[in-house]
């Protein structure tokens, strides 16, 4: 409230201008943005999210050093230690890694990594690496960083086939995030449509849709998703599977929004300002667009944002179980699947890093959604 008050005080009226004209500037949208700004966590999250979008969704090829499919000789490598100080304590402006070999420890019979402190390999910026097609069609080879020499730099280590986990994670994040978005768009449309019809029409249509929602909500989500996902024929193309999974997750998610929209429509129908508009003989369409929709647009926005985490978690869960996305389409859930048993995680804990990405993305969306909700609420 403080922010809103101070913004009102700040809008000084130039001399000669009627005060009423100044007040017009305080539109709902303006107040909304102002309030969102006061939620620091949400603002920071928005920037971090944008950062992720640029690095992982739009240009992962550029930001990752290697192609996600590229196989190296070194399996299950721990994350490379990028250093600025060498073994003698000298500072190097250019970061570097040491060359390494993998040996078998006589006592534990485990493979350990031994670094060669004589052999420094510098990290280089803007190197030419594996070729790619940016955004699907722009060919190129330029990558943000790489390392000189024949060994690779693995910021997140490698998996059991010797692939760079960092590059794989960036690409997987792209898949996980876009599935979330597409799924959310679908379920939002469904929710708006069915909720709107339900609220406006009333009667048996409303009853039917409400019963359907009740039924869907009664069936535990993950078992339902599992059942639906398992019924996708295995021989479909990866892209086809991708879309089916998206549709499946969104089928469940629309119920929340539908309920809210229906509730809003039902209560708004009786609102004084709607009755007033009707009393003034305003045409129905203009009532809907100028009075009803702006009212719950913010709710839709909030619901959208807060549904994305559910979608992402759903896809991750399904892929983790093996009935979601399949390689070569790699999402964060697929990556985590490689870390399914205790032995693997104990020996190679870096395999869980993609899980950390999931958590961070979900948190980001939750914070932003929280900020949006606070901004949209006129009474808080």
């Amino acid at each position: 409230m403080g922010a809103a008050l101070s913004s009102l005080e700040e809008s000084t009226t130039p001399p000669g201008v009627h005060p009423h004209l100044e007040a017009r500037r305080e539109t709902q949208w303006y107040l909304f943005r102002q309030k969102f700004r006061t939620h620091k966590l949400a603002r920071v999250s928005l920037w971090v999210l944008l950062f992720l979008v640029v690095t992982c969704v739009l240009f992962p090829e550029f930001f990752s050093p290697y192609s996600p499919q590229r196989v190296f000789d070194n399996q299950n490598l721990p994350p490379s230690r990028v250093r600025f100080f060498d073994a003698d304590g000298r500072f190097s402006f250019v970061p570097f890694v040491y060359a390494f070999t993998q040996e078998l420890d006589r006592e534990t019979f485990q493979r350990i990594t031994v670094v060669d402190t004589e052999d420094k390999r510098s990290i280089r910026i803007f190197v030419l690496g594996d070729s790619y097609r940016m955004l699907g069609f722009i060919p190129g080879r330029l990558r943000l960083f790489g390392v000189e020499g024949d060994q690779g730099v693995f910021l997140f280590g490698t998996d059991k086939l010797g692939r760079d986990l960092f590059s794989r994670t960036l690409h997987a994040t792209r898949i996980s995030m876009t599935i979330g978005l597409v799924g959310v768009l679908l379920s939002t449309l469904l929710g708006l449509l069915l909720g709107g019809v339900s609220g406006l029409q009333g009667g048996w249509v409303d009853g039917l849709i409400q019963r359907a929602i009740d039924v869907i909500l009664s069936i535990p989500t993950i078992p339902l998703w599992m059942a639906l996902a398992a019924s996708i024929p295995r021989n479909w193309s990866p892209l086809g599977i991708y879309f089916m999974i998206t549709i499946i997750i969104s089928l469940i998610g629309w119920t929340g929004l539908a309920r809210t929209v229906r509730g809003k429509f039902l209560s708004l129908r009786k609102e004084d300002f709607v009755l007033a508009a009707v009393g003034f003989n305003a045409p129905m369409l203009s009532i809907i667009t100028r009075h009803l929709i702006p009212n719950f647009l913010s709710y839709v926005l909030v619901s959208l944002t807060l549904s994305v985490p559910a979608m992402i978690l759903g896809e991750t869960a399904l892929s983790f179980l093996g009935i979601g996305l399949q390689p070569p389409v790699v999402s964060l859930g697929v990556l985590i699947q490689q870390a399914q048993n205790i032995q693997d995680i104990t020996l190679y804990p870096w395999l869980l890093i993609p899980g950390g990405f999931v958590v961070i993305i979900v948190l980001l969306y939750n914070f932003i959604g929280d900020g949006l909700r606070d901004a949209a609420d006129p009474y808080s």
Binding site: M1, G2, L5, S6
Partner: protein, 348 residues
Amino acid sequence: MSDHILRVEGLKTVFKTFSGDINAVDDVAFSLARNETLGIVGESGCGKSVTARSIMKLVEFENGRIDAGSVEYMPTPDELIDLTALDHKSAEIRAIRGGQISMIFQEPMASFNPVFPIGKQMAEVLVHHLGLSKLEARDRAIEMLNRVKIPNAAQRFDEYPHEFSGGMRQRAMIAMAISCNPKLLIADEPTTALDVTVEAQILELLNELEAEHSMTTIMITHDMAVIAEMTDNVMVMYAGRIAEYSSASALFANPLHPYTQALLKSIPRIGSKEELYSIEGSVPSLLDLPKGCYFAPRCPFAMEHCHTQAPPTFEPEPGHRVRCWLYGEPGDEVRAAPLTASEEVAGT
């Protein structure tokens, strides 16, 4: 030693908000004699409720604090307790709240907890203050419900707030408030939310109870008619300060403060065909109070120094005090919360 039951001096209550500190009550002082009914009247937001809650030390629960002043409570002529010195969560103040000083509120529906039966909420007070057993409390509560003329009291005891009508709820609230025989009853706009006919019944009930129990009452309202009906003395508040204090009859016969005059002028008269009078301007925001007299910007009689210096309390007629430069010069001021003759003798 004193036939005052309450004396408030220099009370200043401040609320902390995101936009800064709000001075809701500023330099409020008055004395309350035993068995007197004092009315506090003013527009919404003038600080009348906050004054009451400050007395009860309830403002601390809402980001408020008493920055200055004292509230002296004298349950018997021989005792004196400074309420402002008590911690708002202490057992002492809690013994006084409900047991000796009771308060009833404006919204009877919202004042009761909707998920407990009314009887239980009434019994709660009795058990806490009088140490009655559950059965004793029940009997006494039903007795009180009968006293406030609620039919079927025994059955009503077990019913929930939403099963009562508005007027009945307010009666139950009154019953609850007086069940421990408090010495002072503070009624914060008790009839504002009720129909006129119900209002009349409630006011009548209050009058009866006051006489019966020798209760001192503070009646907070914005309705001048209620003041005329119920009160002995009246205090007019504006933007957190007292504007005028006098007996009810004197206030209506001879309002001194320009604000009081304007208030009385704006009451519509049945049968009159004049245009409705409204005071020019609006109440200042508590975040941005003017210097000097708060009412000066709207006052038709405002003089130069009204805008720069806040007027002290003058007493142009005995028992009729006003804070307005029209009635005195610096040096004429009196004490807002006068001592009684016996207090002066004792040198209090």
